[in-house]
């Protein structure tokens, strides 16, 4: 980056690149990678999605060693934004970091850079060099698209969409991001966790992977009760976990972590899936539409099968783990070891070396940005692993065998046509107050 650009304001810079970079591969965009190499350069961050995870991600970004500043915040709800701002601005964040101190001097978000509502993201993204996208996943495709369009480096949480149309948008934007050399990290944090990285390096010890198991069986998550003054749209936005257009169902929202590990170690994505699922415990109105269990067999092109199970049911066995079975042995990710075919441990990762992968995601991302390096292109895998989980959901909702190519190209789009508090969301309660839920054998793919 030449001196002229360095001294220009960020906004001018973006405007400038916008003018000259019609072809997207123009020189200013390539040289942009060096933009932060000067010692006096501050990396400006915008946070889009100020819930618990967004607050955590912003904190992790601010705790990196780089010269960073949070300059803008966006959320659909003012109270979530305020709670996040207060938490980040605390005088003492030792409960988070274990060390005295705070990150207040890295936060510069005056009232005019706090944005609330459905369109808040556009305004916040415009003010930053790096954006953190941590809203409910239904919004991720449009937020990611916008961030790429505005030439930002990106940290975005998983999953990256809730429907095939969203996946397509993310894949297209991911290609753009690559061309523009924008670093993109997706919060599939096992890729940034020491034990998984080491197991991956040793994966050939088990020969060819022929089958795998993945589990996310737990009690479930929070419920947000309806309040009388809320519109249907606001209620669903608050209680978002239970609506497919916002959340994707828990097979997508949580179990993606485990499915993604199998894809990663396999080095490919399934070609078809079939499975079963339903609602046994979580049958109330407050649980919206989503299932409380899914069991899916994913078939890979080489004939290997992933048996995936995820369950949100209380008082049942809980387990979050992955197991890969190969011709010569097995990889147990939770125990962080590899056995031979007879069960003898032939590799054990020393768990004392385990890191905080959420912090590592940001440490590595911001180090690359500060050095002007282009190192991270997680969006494509993020989209394809998200698609894998959606494929699983389509299988359990429909009871059919669903194929990857057909599903990803189905154009199924669950998002609202209009984003407005008064608008009807894509799913509304029936007269009895219950939401329509998938019934295998009777439902279309969703």
């Amino acid at each position: 980056m030449d001196q002229n650009h360095k001294n220009s304001s960020r906004r001018d810079f973006v405007k400038h690149t916008g003018l000259v970079a019609g072809g997207l591969l123009a020189a200013p965009l390539l040289s942009r990678a060096n933009y932060f190499s000067g010692a006096d350069s501050t990396i400006k961050i915008a946070l889009v999605g100020c819930g618990g995870r967004g607050t955590g991600a912003a904190m992790q970004a601010l705790l990196t060693k780089q010269n960073v500043k949070l300059v803008a915040m966006a959320d659909a709800f003012r109270n979530r934004l305020d709670a996040c701002y207060t938490a980040l601005n605390a005088d003492d964040i030792s409960e988070t970091t274990g060390k005295p101190g705070n990150v207040k001097n890295k936060i510069d978000v005056p009232e005019e850079r706090k944005f609330v509502g459905f369109d808040a993201y556009q305004k916040a993204i415009a003010l930053a060099d790096v954006v953190i996208l941590t809203t409910p996943p239904g919004f991720r495709p449009i937020h990611f698209e916008e961030a790429v369009k505005q030439n930002k480096h990106i940290f975005m949480e998983k999953p990256v969409a809730t429907d095939p149309a969203g996946i397509k948008r993310v894949l297209v934007a991911a290609e753009e991001a690559k061309k523009k050399k924008l670093n993109v990290v997706v919060g599939l944090q096992r890729h940034y966790q020491n034990s998984y990285r080491e197991l991956y390096k040793h994966k050939d010890k088990i020969g060819d992977i022929t089958s795998a198991q993945a589990w996310w069986n737990s009690d479930g998550v929070w419920v947000y009760q309806r309040k009388p003054e809320q519109t249907e749209m606001e209620y669903q936005m608050r209680n978002w976990y239970y609506f497919v257009w916002l959340c994707g169902d828990h097979i997508t929202e949580q179990h993606i972590h485990n499915i993604d590990v199998i894809n990663w170690f396999k080095g490919s994505y399934p070609v078809k899936a079939q499975g079963m699922g339903g609602r046994e415990q979580r049958t109330g109105k407050e649980y919206g539409q989503i299932f409380d269990h899914h069991f899916v067999e994913f078939h890979y092109a080489d004939g290997s099968i992933l048996n995936s199970q995820c369950r949100h049911q209380k008082k049942t066995m809980s387990k979050v783990d992955e197991l890969l079975v190969g011709t010569k042995g097995k990889i147990y990710t939770g125990a962080a070891h590899i056995t031979d075919s007879k069960g003898k441990v032939i590799y054990q990762y020393d768990l004392k070396g385990e890191n905080d992968p959420y912090q590592t995601e940001h440490d590595e991302l911001f180090a690359a940005i500060a050095k002007g390096e282009y190192k991270f292109a997680d969006a494509e895998n993020g989209a394809k692993s998200t698609m894998t989980s959606i494929l699983g959901r389509m299988a359990t909702y429909s009871g059919e065998v669903v194929e990857w190519d057909k599903s990803i190209n189905s154009g199924i789009d669950l998002q609202p046509k209009v984003y407005d508090w008064a608008a009807a969301p894509p799913v509304v309660p029936k007269p009895d107050g219950f939401y329509p839920c998938a019934i295998p054998g009777e439902s279309n793919f969703v």
Partner: protein, 300 residues
């Protein structure tokens, strides 16, 4: 209430009405003891002294570490709110991942991975159920009960090779906690005081503990989440971490895999080696005092 139910200061087993949940308590007579390790004790750390004579009032203590089943009657009690900021007694929020880490939950395995707030909230729930005031032991009560009259590094002497008879620790645990009560108890009838799970105490941890405590029923009031004292060592620790005087404390890294801010009030994502046992002071507080106590340390 308490005193009528248990006429004498003797061991008892209490059942909670409407559940299969009972727990065994052993009576620990009051007395004095030298707290901390002798200056020449092998593997001694600076925070274990200078040892000091401390007086302890009588109390009952749980014979075993609280188990998954016992904690489950509270944690899985649908009649209670979950993670409420306004209710006096509220259940911990759901565990997003399985924090027993597949070490076992059925048949008497000790409950693990809870925060000190979750452990104390269990005591508050028990108080509501039974009218008996329960809490966590203070560090001094814990060490007094653990030593059970001994002044040696371990309550059975100074020969660490005998640990296998009394404790689950790094050398014999296969890196997992084990069902409670399988090893020999200490002389006062307490099982798994050393090893298995490290146990929460009431105290704020201080490396200057012995300089700041008073002689009678000492406790350093807990004012912040970190560091809090845990005692006894765990299935992960080596023999030197299981000495009666050995001290350890909570730290923020015990929640390093919790991606949210604020971190969970209830669970430790990286504290799978922590559990607790309950105590009941013989001298029970009044209702007002008990409420004041719980409110002070847990909030409304």
């Amino acid at each position: 209430m308490a005193q009528e139910q248990v006429k004498d200061f003797v061991p008892y087993s209490q059942k909670i009405p409407g559940t299969n949940f009972s727990y065994s308590m052993v009576a620990i007579k009051g007395g004095s003891f030298m707290m901390g390790s002798k200056s020449d004790e092998k593997n001694r750390k600076p925070d274990e002294g200078p040892s000091k004579e401390v007086n302890i009032s009588p109390f009952w203590m749980g014979v075993y570490e609280v188990t998954h089943e016992q904690f489950g009657f509270f944690f899985r009690n649908d009649s209670l709110s979950q993670g409420s900021k306004v209710d006096a007694v509220t259940r911990p929020t759901p565990q997003y991942i399985d924090l027993s880490w597949n070490m076992g939950k059925e048949g008497g395995f000790p409950m693990n991975s809870m925060s000190v707030d979750a452990a104390l909230m269990f005591c508050r729930w028990l108080y509501e159920q039974t009218g008996i005031f329960y809490r966590l032991p203070t560090e001094a009560e814990w060490e007094y009960a653990c030593r059970s009259g001994s002044q040696t590094p371990y309550f059975f002497g100074d020969d660490a090779s005998k640990l296998n008879d009394y404790a689950w620790y790094a050398s014999n645990s296969n890196k997992k906690y084990q069902k409670v009560g399988q090893k020999k108890p200490n002389p006062w009838g307490l099982y798994d005081m050393l090893g298995n799970l490290s146990e929460w105490t009431m105290d704020q941890y201080s490396d200057k503990y012995f300089d700041s405590i008073k002689a009678n029923n000492p406790m350093i009031p807990p004012l912040s989440r970190y560091p809090r004292s845990i005692r006894g060592g765990s299935y992960m620790d080596q023999a030197d971490g299981l000495r009666s005087a050995s001290r350890n404390h909570s730290q923020a890294s015990w929640n390093k895999r919790d991606p949210q801010v604020p971190k969970s009030r209830w669970w430790l994502t990286d504290g799978m080696f922590v559990g607790f046992r309950i105590v009941r002071p013989l001298n029970q507080p009044s209702k007002e005092e008990a409420e004041k106590f719980y409110t002070l340390y847990l909030g409304k």
